[in-house]
């Protein structure tokens, strides 16, 4: 259920790190909690964030919540397909529903592995 090869933030973003590039999205659990997404608001290429900073938001039919940068760095690519098809996040949160790519600055800190994130989900689901 929770992919083993990714890292996770407590705020329900997943991160895939390849060299100094981090691909970021929100988790299966997060999209389930939100329900059908209607809008994804993302930053622009060139914006920089510190880990933990708010970088965008997702809206669903029943709620809206912020997305936080799981790593520090500069946005180098944004999944613009989500503008017209936010439902991709619901359908494939770890695939076509990816949100953006960061050029990482410094070593990522405070991210969880699948097991650690499973514990977070466990505690929030109850």
């Amino acid at each position: 259920m929770i992919p083993e090869d990714l890292l996770y933030a407590k705020t329900h973003e997943w991160v895939m790190i390849e060299d100094d590039v981090a691909t970021v999205g929100i988790t299966q659990f997060a999209q389930e909690q939100l329900g059908d997404l209607t809008f994804v608001e993302l930053p622009e290429v060139g914006d920089t964030f510190e880990a933990g900073a708010e970088m965008g938001s997702v809206e669903s039919v029943k709620a809206a919540s912020e997305i936080y940068a799981p790593v520090s760095g500069e946005v180098i690519e944004v999944n613009t397909e989500l503008e017209d098809a936010p439902e991709k996040v619901n359908e494939e949160p770890y695939g076509a529903g990816w949100m953006l790519k960061f050029r990482i600055k410094g070593a990522p800190e405070g991210l969880l592995n699948a097991e650690g994130y499973a514990a977070v989900v466990e505690s929030e689901a109850h």
Partner: protein, 444 residues
């Protein structure tokens, strides 16, 4: 039920429950010198006494003057249907009900209003209205700031000065820089506005017709704004929109208006109606309520509040605005007014108002020493310069039941002799003739 909040017995009971002896004890925490000595409220009066007192006060108002006052608020004819329909008990509630299961009529009325104003302004989306034209302009400015994440706002001095004062006051404590581009003898300085645009500009704010009545095509300015990714915001006078190139046609991103001229009486400044419209691209920044049309599980048409995720009751701390209460009854009045007049009626009201203003301008400028200040095309309002201080001329004519217009000197230094004159379809040619003769006499 008595019209008293609580009886003496109830007061005693409440005090006993709290455990204090008197109301004074309740406020013992506040030292005596900090408390009001007296509230200076007179003794109560009977209903009849109150009525006669209020009638005496009301009688002091000059209600039968002939007025050429405009400056953003216009005395248009309101069809009787507007009052008859909007004063129905179903609409005359203290609060607008939004629950879709119970309020289809209210929601549909708002939806129809949104549809009507978007068509009038040539825009794609509208909200359910905000307080007034000035508030709408402020909200539009904040939409641009959020969207662009920039802080420089280029403001045309041709915008209604009342709105500019509001904008300044609302943004005093916000991280926003207002850069005002001065008018040029009453003309909107299009080149100056264009030059003020750069890549730190969040928005450019212009009005058409501008405060002095002059009409511009702002298409090029808006294209220049787009080139630096700034948001184009246009404030308009709704009645004239039936004849002029619309904000949508000029490429505005957001168009706002004071909706008073669409069926709201001039009543000491309110309640009025803030019309807010925008392009689809900006709709997620649009504050306030937006009603959408949908279908239920059985395929029947239904109306609901939509884009709720930006609203106050879901993410209070993230709401796009906290002063965006809508003016539902006024919005309904505007809708009924527009429907009663129809496209042809609205156009006719606009045309007749313009014709009267042009006759008036001709008559006034035939008086020696009176010159047109407004150059080029104007609608139902124009500015002239008098050979004397406009305040003096206004005083003289007002004494005789004619209010000649708005003194520009009130907001514009150097224009103390400037008079802003407005006509509507209610202004008769006879009144214009009398006004011109009275002014000629006053200037001798």
């Amino acid at each position: 039920m008595p019209f008293v909040p609580h009886t003496e017995d109830e007061v005693r009971e409440m005090l006993a429950t709290i455990g204090v002896n008197s109301v004074d004890d309740l406020f013992a925490e506040i030292s005596a010198d900090m408390r009001p000595k007296s509230f200076d409220i007179p003794e109560g009066l009977s209903e009849m006494e109150v009525l006669s007192k209020l009638e005496a006060l009301a009688a002091k108002n000059a209600t039968d003057s002939v007025s050429f006052l405009g400056a953003g608020f216009y005395d248009h004819y309101i069809p009787a249907a507007v009052d008859a329909l909007t004063m129905r008990g179903e609409f005359y509630t203290a609060y607008t009900p939004y629950q879709p299961e119970a309020s289809q009529g209210t929601l549909q009325a708002i939806f129809e209003y949104q549809t009507a104003v978007t068509r009038l302004l040539g825009m794609e989306c509208a909200n359910a209205s905000v307080y007034d034209g000035g508030t709408a302009l402020y909200e539009a400015t904040m939409m641009a700031v959020r969207k662009t994440r920039r802080r420089k706002i280029v403001v045309s001095e041709g915008l209604n000065p009342i709105y500019r004062v509001m904008l300044g006051s609302y943004t005093t404590n916000l991280d926003v820089d207002l850069v005002t581009v001065p008018h040029k003898d009453g003309q909107t300085d299009l080149a100056g506005l264009k030059n003020a645009l750069d890549d730190s500009t969040a928005a450019v704010l212009v009005q058409n017709p501008n405060f002095f009545g002059s009409i511009n095509d702002l298409t090029e300015l808006f294209a220049a704004a787009k080139a630096v990714k700034a948001v184009s915001i246009m404030s308009v006078y709704p009645v004239l929109q039936t004849l002029l190139k619309t904000p949508g046609e000029m490429g505005a991103d957001i168009a706002v208006a004071e909706g008073q001229s669409l069926g709201m009486p001039l009543s000491f400044g309110g309640p009025y109606l803030g019309i807010m419209t925008c392009t689809k691209e900006m709709v997620r920044q649009l504050p306030g309520r937006i009603v959408g049309r949908t279908t239920d599980t059985e395929g029947r048409t239904g109306y609901v509040l939509t884009l709720q995720a930006r609203e106050q009751h879901i993410r209070r701390q993230r709401a796009t605005s906290n002063i965006c209460s809508n003016q539902s009854l006024c919005a309904l009045r505007a809708l009924v007014h527009m429907c009663a007049l129809g496209e042809m009626g609205l156009k006719r009201a606009a045309r007749v108002s313009m014709e009267r203003a042009h006759i008036c301008a001709e008559r006034l400028t035939a008086i020696p020493g009176v010159e047109m200040l407004t150059k080029g095309t104007f609608g139902n309002e124009f500015a002239v310069t008098l050979p004397v201080n406009a305040f003096e001329a206004i005083d003289k004519l007002a004494e005789r039941g004619y209010i000649p217009g708005f003194p520009l000197g009130r907001y514009f230094e150097g224009l103390e002799n400037g008079l802003l004159v407005a006509c509507t379809e209610k202004t008769s040619e006879e009144q214009i003739g009398i006004f011109a003769e009275m002014l000629r006499g006053a200037l001798k």
